[in-house]
């Protein structure tokens, strides 16, 4: 308790919400005659000026293709690009920069592992274990690779409150489990899964674990080595960075054993028509010209997060989450979906007698951006027997006033929609 308070005091000193909001010009926008209330951060965060400027400056003064030319621009671009890799390494606390592969996002990262790991290590009768709350990005690639290799996809069930039972998880780790691939933080429910324990339990049986951190990295400090994750994936655009950027951390021992998933330029050591030898990781997994400007923007995003500090961000998000949870659960007809004790600042809910699309439409008329639908987690919606939810996902730049605006606008929507 004392410790928490101490953090609170320390963080409050540094955390100046007004100046933070000034870094995100889009937050001043009007939508349909109302000030924008952006509560769809889970889908994609907004970008601070620092990120936008880093990209602009790169294109204005440095751009050339990387890893290729002897000329100055190419050298400068390569240096900037590889510096972004080292920043990513320290951001995730990876053991070496070579363990950080740049991808276009979480989706590509998971497809890469499913293919490169799957084709090497999966066969008839082997098992891949995922959970019932996975994003389609962590379901479909595994289904595809299972179909090709004859492996089976097993599912850890989701409890009513949106958590995973470690007992049920343990019972699904078998002799034939070759990899566990689970979401660190659920995009639909906000649940923070007990991934440290899950990794330990898998490792006791020699099973590697991939964590889908798309919704974790925007909210909490990730230390891939403390977690002992074998693979950790995330998307830049959900953590203040540009679209089209993603990080794949992989332990070097695995990266060495895996074959590339795409072929082309940049990933080779030597090509002849008879045989090609590949460059060492990370390059063997990065075929083609990468999203150079994107990763330079992503570096600025990581530096921005480090400057604000996860403690301070989390403090603000927790405040809003607590306020919004109390406020929304007090509104008649509102049912929260996902009430795990350990959550990030995501609230999914349904309204008795109103379709989530209708609720979202009326909220949008009042300037409030929320996500409605299945959130790319259709099996999870089936689990709760609902067509979808309304999801408000808060970032550290949101305010209590915005949470209150969500609540009053929701009350208005309900009075219109529910007779």
């Amino acid at each position: 308790m004392a410790f928490r308070e101490e953090i609170a005091v320390r963080s409050e000193n540094r955390f100046d919400l007004e100046s933070i909001r000034a870094d995100f010009p889009i937050l001043d926008r009007m939508v349909r005659g109302n000030p924008l209330v952006y509560l769809d951060n889970g889908a994609s965060s907004q970008k601070p000026l620092q990120v936008i400027e880093a990209i602009t400056e790169y294109y204005l003064g440095t751009h050339a293709n990387v890893h290729r030319g002897v000329h100055t621009l190419s050298q400068e671009a390569t240096d900037a690009f590889e510096r972004a890799r080292r920043t990513s390494q320290s951001f995730l606390n990876a053991g070496s920069a070579e363990e950080v592969i740049f991808t276009s996002g979480t989706t590509e990262a998971i497809n890469l592992v499913a293919n490169s790991f799957g084709l090497r290590f999966l066969g008839e009768g082997d098992e891949v274990l995922i959970s019932g709350m996975e994003h389609h990005a962590n379901i479909v690639p595994w289904q595809m690779i299972c179909a090709r290799t004859g492996a089976t996809l097993n599912i850890i069930p989701v409890e009513d409150d949106g958590t995973i039972s470690l007992e049920k998880y343990a019972s699904l780790l078998t002799e034939r489990t070759r990899i566990v691939s689970v979401v660190h933080v659920s995009n639909t429910l906000g649940t923070i899964n007990p991934v440290g324990q899950m990794i330990r339990m898998a490792h006791e049986r020699g099973i590697p674990v991939l964590l889908d951190g798309a919704q974790a990295v925007p909210h909490m400090k990730i230390d891939v080595r403390a977690l002992d994750a074998d693979f950790y994936v995330t998307s830049g655009h959900k953590m203040l960075g540009p679209t089209g950027t993603g990080l794949l951390y992989g332990k070097m021992e695995w990266l060495h054993k895996m074959e590339p998933y795409q072929g082309g330029g940049e990933m080779i050591e030597r090509v002849t028509f008879e045989k090609t030898t590949y460059a060492p990781p990370p390059f063997k997994f990065e075929a083609g010209t990468p999203n150079i400007a994107g990763f330079i923007g992503l570096e600025a995003a990581m530096q921005y997060i480090q400057r604000i500090g996860y403690d301070a961000m989390r403090m603000q998000e927790e405040k809003i989450l607590q306020y919004a949870t109390e406020r929304l659960s007090g509104i008649k007809g509102v049912r929260l979906i996902g009430t795990a004790p350990e959550k990030v600042s995501v609230i999914s809910f349904i309204v008795d007698g109103a379709h989530p699309f209708d609720v979202g439409t009326i909220l949008d008329q009042q300037g409030i951006a929320v996500r409605t639908g299945h959130h790319c987690t259709q099996p999870l919606m089936d689990r709760y027997c609902i067509p979808g939810t309304v999801r408000a996902s808060f970032a550290f730049y949101n305010t209590i006033e915005e949470a209150e605006k969500l609540a009053t606008s929701l009350e208005r929507a309900i009075s219109m929609l529910v007779a």
């Binding site: 349909r32 005659g33 109103a354 379709h355 699309f357 209708d358 979202g360 439409t361 009326i362 949008d364 008329q365 009042q366 639908g373 067509p387 208005r412 219109m416 929609l417 007779a419």
Partner: protein, 142 residues
């Protein structure tokens, strides 16, 4: 009234509203009062694809004019269908097939819909026109 006369009436009605919240209130009321579809028609065959919420549409021909009934699990969608039905219901099949539904743009509905909803609206209109053509063909053939 002809299709265009009804469209002009609707445009007139919508011009009386102050803001879009009022227009939505009206659309929701229309949705709530949409006559019920025969439950037998709420099946896969009557489901319109391209809508994010579920929409069922049934058309019947009577003396060369088409009668529509419909339903949806989302009330705003129902309200929009109610508007479409008000314009197209009991009109001659060929008129429906060739109708230019300018009221959608003129009342500002299209720009106030999310892209998914706008796609859904386009799918609904298309299906109503298809139904009209198909049902018209049937009478002529028989």
């Amino acid at each position: 009234m002809t299709i265009n006369e009804i469209q002009d009436t609707i445009i007139g009605e919508f011009s009386l509203f102050g803001d879009w919240m009022e227009k939505y209130e009206y659309i929701i009321e229309l949705g709530k009062s949409l006559p019920l579809i025969d439950p037998a028609y709420k099946d896969e065959a009557h489901l319109i694809h391209g809508c994010q919420s579920q929409v069922w549409l049934h058309g019947e021909e009577e003396d060369g004019r088409i009668q529509f009934t419909a339903d949806s699990d989302a009330v705003i969608t129902k309200g929009i269908i109610a508007l479409l039905i008000r314009v197209l219901n009991a009109q001659p099949a060929t008129e429906i097939a060739h109708a230019d539904l300018y009221f959608i743009d003129r009342i500002g509905l299209k720009e106030h819909l999310s892209p998914t909803r706008a796609n859904g609206l386009a799918s609904m209109v298309k299906q109503m026109k298809y139904d009209a053509i198909a049902l018209n063909g049937k009478t002529k053939a028989s």
